[in-house]
Amino acid sequence: METFYEVLRRQGITRRSFMKFCSLTATSLGLGSAFTGKIAHALETKPRTPVLWMHGLECTCCSESFIRSAHPLAQDVVLSMLSLDYDDTLMASAGADAQAILEEIQQKYKGNYILAVEGNPPLNEDGMFCITAGKPFVEELKRVASDAKMVIAWGACASYGCVQAAKPNPTQATPIHKVITDKPIVRVPGCPPIAEVMTAVVTYMLTFDRLPELDRTGRPKMFYGQRIHDKCYRRPHFDAGQFVEQWDDEGARKGYCLYKVGCKGPTTYNACSTVRWNEGVSFPIGSGHGCIGCSEDGFWDKGSFYDRLTSIHQFGIESNADQVGGTVAAVAGTAVAVHAGLTALKRSRVDHDKEFPVREGGNGQWGK
């Protein structure tokens, strides 16, 4: 439709600020001002980067979220910034005609296309819990990944496994980094991720032609560098010790902190409390429900979303740290009491072994 430059122009960006943008790009890539012109030229004329968007086991909410993007608009991303050549949820063709596109792009743009993955491959039943074109999805995923330049793991599914990987993970749903091991992968977790975060990650990759800065676990630092709790507007109530104790109580109506009803904001890295959702309208906490930690690994298996303390499965029946630890401490306390009682019963004074000399000199004594 349009080149990147034209899209910017249509959005009211002048030639001047476009050039400024290009020079900024050049500097931040460490290329120096000589490259400004080259970058501008590339953005004005180069073919749009093909993106192949594949779906494994998922719920398509990542796609749904993506099309909610307001800046840039999803239509501008899909039609003008990149070339969405394969996406089974949106594409016109089907069956063999659709599959032919995968092959064509893989050959024509070897090493130059972006693979975006929503969902994940199941490995049980030889992969046949997710079948595409009669074959296990995992095969197609590996094949298409083999010539990709970079890979995007959309959502908690591709990044961590998400709901289908929750215990007992009957299909052995597997995050994509376990099957694509030789390509740079950026994880954009969330269930789903925020629309504008998704499009920002893509536009960043197109603009700077590289993955964004990633944190230790492969998430873009720019959106996943802080916890919900770090920038939550209810934080003053947390600090003050003012909590929603029960749904729809006075604290709830006053917007107190949701910690006691299970908010996982203190342990969840995401941009919800800053970027917010759906063009900044609200975010989970803003509408009265705690964060359920949907951008964190394994958030389904930490016990009830309404409990402050995590369930610990290792101890047989589900229990939390206070129950487990409290029991241990209580057992110790009881043992002490019993022991003290027995001691008092058996003797009133304790002597030492007369024959035995006092061991002096700390650790040095041993071995002598």
């Binding site: 398509t60 909410c61 909610r68 608009l73 016109a92 595409t132 299909t171 006053k254 803003g286």
Partner: protein
């Protein structure tokens, strides 16, 4: 092999055509058909090709969390499973929700209906009727006249369409067709004149921009979309319109925002969606294939309880009932708890039941996955060329109502509403029939299904207004309660309990059944609209709605599955939903 079932003559002797993946749907699906020498479909086999095991995963979990798990069954009909789930838990534990909670839930469910239908029509379905490339040949002036003639919608000047056409021209010339690559452009089954195509492309883009506004209602009440938050016992968003701290709750500003989005939604649907629907339909009214089961067996559970906590048919605004054998004069009562009515079978599905068990009511449902292929399979286990529908062939179970395969969805709801003589469903249907000048039987078709969805989108948008007014009135009357926490604590629950929740999801009747034991989920079963529609065969060889709808349809070009897509899309298949 050939046999008759439900009035269809199945014959698999002709050329086998495989479509895998079926695209522009949610999730993974495959369809195989046999064509006779005239390229008419004489056998149809639809396969759900994914399974995630949510019913297995839900075992042993806290029932209050179930909504979040089941919500992730689908991000397209986002929220409807969550609503169904909290209703099931409330039903099991006897929890009554406040009036405001019911109203807000209805607004959210209607928001989903409006949004999902709109996105389906423009972004998943339109390309079956609209030839994008042909739009290049349109005369912008004539397009503007066409658009202005059917609607007072603003963006319809000659200049607007010319700009758009230029954009499209450049896009096509770039050689990078993106999502439109390898489409069936030029196929003779496309009937729209170039101008109508250009107008539709314009609205494809406008609808893409607009749909993101509708869901903001979910964001206001549920914090985000997709996957807003829900709560057993009510809704998580408190109301505070008078006092300190109102900014942290549903306050006047939030209510105004909801209200203004409702107005915009009504306007977009009534001024863009409905006129487009009628305009497109008018060029296809001779193409009345795809009726499938709709003229025989349709089912609806009903939804949108006007008053809180009353789930009887009389209080439900969407119709409830079942029709079998095409007898529209006899609306049968539906009871989701009756073990004789709803049962699921797995004879042709990749699951096993305990020995000797034939059908199971979902309270006793078993989900035990087992992948095995029939003896006549062409290919291997991991490279299926032609599936054997004589054996197991789908991850979708086969639900039956009193032994019948049923169609569910907007068309089913409208047929039942029509048959019940409910004016709000009957009148708009009659208006459409009259506008298009087609008989009432035209309803039982692919087009009828697509039309019913549009009418329902409009109905839903207007009902949002009704509930918004109701919410305001209730708040004004001094009630701001949004949650009932009496039975929040699991210690207040009985040792065992069971319950069922239902909704009318965008794609049709949705039910969740659960049993609770010692505060944990003991069994959780969902039967989802696409489970009904996408059902494989049963032991008697009865076919499901998808398969039935493809029967006897001629293909204009044998190796282009345009008509197959058209009819399948008219159901808005959701495979993640169907198998869960």
């Amino acid at each position: 092999m050939s046999y008759e079932t439900q009035g269809f003559k199945l014959d698999d002797s002709g050329k086998r055509v495989v479509v895998d993946p079926v695209t522009r749907i949610e999730g993974h699906m495959r369809v195989e058909v046999n064509l006779d020498s005239q390229n008419v479909i004489r056998n149809a086999v639809s396969t759900g090709t994914m399974w995630r095991g949510l019913e297995v995963i839900l075992k042993g979990r806290d029932p209050r969390d179930a909504w979040a798990f089941t919500e992730r069954i689908c991000g397209v009909c986002t929220g409807t499973h969550a609503l169904t789930s909290v209703r099931a838990v409330e039903n099991a534990l006897g929890i009554q929700i406040p009036e405001n909670a019911n109203t807000i839930r209805n607004i959210m469910q209607l928001t989903l209906q409006a949004h999902d239908h709109l996105v389906h029509f423009y972004h998943l379905h339109a390309l079956d009727w609209v030839d994008v490339v042909s739009a290049l040949k349109a005369d912008p002036k004539a397009t503007a006249e066409l658009a202005q003639g059917i609607s007072s919608w603003g963006m319809s000047s000659t200049g607007y369409f010319r700009d758009l056409q230029n954009r499209l021209q450049k896009f096509v010339e770039s050689g990078q067709l993106g999502p439109f690559m390898n489409g069936y452009w030029g196929n003779p089954a496309y009937k729209l004149p170039a101008e109508a195509n250009l107008m539709a492309v314009a609205h494809y883009l406008q609808a893409l921009d607009f749909q993101k506004e509708i869901v903001k209602i979910h964001t206001i009440f549920g914090g985000k979309n997709p996957h807003p938050n829900w709560l057993v016992g009510g809704v998580p968003c408190p109301i505070n319109v008078h006092d300190t701290g109102a900014v942290g709750a549903i306050n006047m500003e939030r209510l105004n925002l909801v209200s203004s989005i409702i107005d915009q939604t009504i306007e977009f649907i009534d001024k863009v969606y409905i006129p487009d629907l009628l305009a497109i339909a008018s060029f296809y009214k001779d193409w009345l294939y795809g009726g499938g089961l709709s003229s025989q067996c349709v089912l609806s559970y009903g939804d949108i309880p006007d008053k809180a906590n009353d789930y009887s048919a009389a209080n439900l605004m969407l119709p409830r009932g079942a029709i079998t054998g095409g007898d529209l004069s006899r609306i049968q009562e539906v009871d989701l708890a009756d073990p004789e009515q709803i049962q699921e079978f797995v004879d042709h599905s990749w699951y096993t039941y305990p020995d000797g068990v034939k059908g199971l009511h979902p309270y006793d449902g078993v989900t035990n996955a087992k992948f095995e292929l029939g003896p006549k399979l062409k290919g291997t286990k991991t490279n299926i060329q032609e599936i054997d529908e004589g054996g197991k062939y789908s991850w979708i179970k086969a639900p039956r109502w009193r032994g019948h395969a049923m169609e569910v969805g907007p068309l089913a709801r409208y047929i039942i509403g029509y048959a019940q003589n409910k004016a709000e469903f009957k009148e708009p249907v009659e208006k459409v029939l009259k506008t298009l000048d087609v008989p009432v039987t035209a309803l039982f078709s692919t087009l009828g299904r697509t039309a019913a969805r549009g009418l329902e989108a409009s109905w839903a948008a207007h009902k949002m207004r009704y509930f918004m007014d109701k919410l305001m009135a209730n708040i004004k009357a001094g009630d701001s309660s949004t949650a009932n926490v009496e039975k929040w604590d699991p210690k207040s629950w009985p040792a065992t309990a069971r319950g069922v929740g239902f909704t009318e999801a965008p794609r049709g009747a949705l039910g969740h059944w659960l049993t609770i034991k010692d505060g944990r989920i003991d069994n959780y079963q969902a039967i989802v609209p696409t489970t009904w529609n996408g059902s494989p065969r049963d032991a008697q060889g009865q076919i499901g709605a998808f398969e039935a709808s493809l029967m006897n349809t001629p293909l204009a070009v044998a190796n282009q599955p345009l008509e197959i897509l058209r009819t399948l899309h008219s159901f808005d298949p959701c495979l993640a939903c169907s198998t869960h």
